[in-house]
Symmetry: none
DNA sequence: AATGAATGAGAGTTCATTCAT
DNA sequence: TATGAATGAACTCTCATTCAT
């Protein structure tokens, strides 16, 4: 049911998707949808919250197995984010494009999850600068750029492209390290 | 009338904006809108086409006064794009988010304009690599990333922020040069 | 609901009748109408299909109790058609005037029903000619004329006229027999 | 301009044809239409009046060259009407189907013209009965039937059919004479 | 947990008509 | 005579949501 909503939102956008369409995709009746969710906006909120939590979990898991150096950690989270964007592409697309239609308290919960994700990258970049690994004069901006690029991948990635998600992850990790001015062999 | 549509689309999205709202913003009646535009989709197409053309013109103008080195040219187009995104923020937002709702032949015209913009960046990065100025092993991917970051600025820039558009332009130019692995003093 | 549509179509024509009007006549709301019928065109199709099927059933029933001679059978179907046109006048009017607004596959179903009705008359007239009862040199044309006249009755009949439907049926049967050149006492 | 209206009405019906469409067909602008005609209804009235007058003139002309016997006169007017229906088919179609949308004083003028046409046929049939040429017991009904059949021709005639209008005229004249029970060789 | 019927608001679009020029 | 801009009402149809069962 939530995945039906996710698909519908990713295809037609929040305003372009109808509750009827979502119900049909979910294989149930329109009215039954309202036994699970009080309103359309809650569907979006749930979907976005879940996507962000899932992403955050993936990033944290990647960090746990990463080495100490900031470059290792940055490589790990970038890779993890890229792979997540490729595998959860519809969720990624919706997270990017439909967040703006969230309102009220539902919005705040999602904002918080996003902020935590952003903070995770910022921390890594700043610690790298502090330790002398990275030499960028703009750690905060670089971190934001890196997150934006990882997220944007959901918009342009095609599963049938000629590069695997793993290759793309390597490329993006390299480009991220370049952006923070980490020495590259 | 087109600026009314632009505002409406940027505020509520293509599907969230109504022709009635656009007409009101434009200071005319709903039915009179249809004396100028055959359908809502054409409003979007016109607005997107104009934004892309305007951006492309700004980029080309910046290139004309730039020096020969690829780093100078990259700095010039990144700066120009960032400034455009800050100044034409609503157009930038709509260009990013609502492009997906374009269909048919209207879509193709906009796709072409976007491709030309992208090509402009790709050409610079590749020439920089060829001349030995840039050392990135991923010129194509770096160019895409740079364009994405310039465009994304429209989504997060706040006019009342503590940094001026010019400062942001300098930062982003620096980060772009770092990403293509250009020597930075 | 279908009878509401029938009334509306007969009064104002297909294009002149509005879905709102039909909903009001049916005692429900405009939007609820669309829970039963996907589009206005389907209302017309349903109404026409039903009218034609009903008519065809009446004609066949009349044939079953008719004697063997072609003149008896022709008299029977003309009578039955005339009575049907008088009693189902609104259906008759709509069947004549609004058929032209049917499109696509819905149209074909109705065309088929009409063809069957026509064929029924043609068969009788041709068999009468073959058996020597009728002497018209134009059986096919005569049969079409007869059907047209029976149908047209819905357009001019007035319930408060001075002749009963049964009298009119007798007259029209007589005139039909005259047209096919059957001996009249 | 009136012929543009005629075409539009015959194709889409009175309610289905728009003033814009009529203007376009006439090769002028929508607003200029209103320099010639005060309202859409007047377009219909004019077109119908003209068609009926034209038909009536054709029938009277046919009568002038016809012989004295009622059968000759009936043959003449039926032929003339059939030929008119075939040649002025669109006018004939509109005269049949769209008359119902006429209202008010415009309607009366057209009703009068139609009545005169009907009367012309009734007079002939009744005189034939009086003179002993026709033996129908239902002269009035026969006359109405004949007029209906002549008019209906506009609905089913196809110019590319295998019979010429003249042949059809002969057939219909024969069938009309049969209906009024005139001796046929 | 599930359904079909119902609703009022609103969507995009077209209508016949008018007005200023 | 001719135009393009303008208008308010109406169009078909869809919306998110509710209710009775």
């Amino acid at each position: 049911m939530f995945s039906a909503a996710l698909d519908a939102f990713s295809t037609n956008g929040f305003n372009g998707a109808s509750m009827r369409e979502i119900a049909t995709r979910a294989g149930t009746s329109l009215s039954n949808l309202y036994n699970y969710v009080p309103a359309k906006a809650d569907l979006l909120a749930h979907v976005l919250k879940r996507a962000n939590d899932d992403l955050l979990a993936a990033l944290r898991a990647a960090l746990e197995t990463a080495g100490d150096p900031a470059s290792d950690r940055l490589r790990a989270v970038v890779s993890a984010y890229v792979l997540w964007s490729a595998r959860q592409q519809t969720a990624g697309v919706v997270a990017i494009s439909e967040f703006r239609y969230l309102e009220g308290s539902l919005r705040e919960a999602v904002v918080e999850a996003r902020d935590r994700t952003q903070q995770l990258f910022t921390d890594i970049v700043e610690s790298g600068v502090a330790s002398g690994e990275f030499h960028t004069p703009y750690p905060h901006e670089a971190a934001r750029n890196i997150v934006l690029l990882c997220a944007a991948l959901a918009n342009w990635y095609h599963a049938d492209g000629r590069r695997t998600p793993e290759q793309i992850a390597d490329e993006q990790a390299h480009l991220a390290l370049a952006m923070v001015q980490s020495p590259l062999e």
